[in-house]
Symmetry: C2
Subunit: 150 residues, 2 copies
């Protein structure tokens, strides 16, 4: 396990936004805000079709907006849309070692959603802090795949 | 007016989180996540007591979390807490010229909350996109004061 710095999180990785129609949302972010589509994929385990839009200069991305559309009404995003409508659903921090950070947070009494990291966007490894232990915020921890620029 | 790049937003400036007790929230972000308090102030015009917590290495901040506690139940944050409870309330993009970006968005048919920028954190100038025109997201635009590192 890596020795962790005092600041457990390296960066604001992305803000995740629940949308009903992914293509429409991509078009809005592109045409209205001038953002670039960095990546698009379907993640059946997370029950989403998703797109990462680049925040900042696309040559030197600062961060991302993750647009999340549900694969089914029973998925997390499907339920979120049903309860709250479209809007901010989660925020994600970049971590260097998702297992070490998860364990450090468990040691401080926080519950994580998964016992082991799962597969996130573009081969990343992710876990989530339970919103009840994080001031009502769904916090995702993202360890990027070694070969992925971010 | 500055000529704007295609990407209207330079960076993910901060994510704003509604909290009931600011001191408790600062202590949680500090002790649990290892974040540093960058700035604290009361903004009567916005009806908040707020704190900016640094995301990333405090020597080279990547972004911030803005903890927002209401000055009164009738303030925006007071109403948000009443409706939704504590959690993510807004997200903010850094812009180089808040007037130019606001006007570019108005030209695309979006409503901004203010006719003229108002005073945000640490002397910044801010405006907000109406959530109904931004996919349910309360989007803040932040032009930092010239002498403020961010
Ligand atoms: Co995410
Ligand atoms: Co703000």
């Amino acid at each position: 396990m890596t020795a962790l710095p005092t600041h457990l999180f390296e960066a604001l990785d992305h803000v995740g936004i629940a949308v009903t129609d992914l293509d429409e949302a991509i078009a809005f972010y592109r045409e209205t805000y001038g953002m670039t589509l960095a990546h698009e994929e379907t993640n059946p385990e997370q029950g989403v079709r998703e797109a990462m839009m680049t925040v900042g200069d696309p040559e030197h991305p600062h961060s991302h907006i993750q647009l999340l559309a549900p694969l089914s009404p029973e998925s997390s995003i499907g339920k979120f849309l049903d309860r709250s409508g479209p809007g901010i659903q989660q925020m994600a921090y970049t971590v260097s070692d998702v297992e070490a950070v998860s364990q450090a947070l468990r040691d401080k009494g926080l519950r994580l959603l998964y016992d082991e990291p799962r597969r996130g966007t573009a081969g990343s490894r992710i876990n989530f802090i339970h919103p009840k232990d994080a001031g009502g915020v769904l916090v995702e921890l993202v360890e990027h795949a070694a070969d992925t620029a971010h």
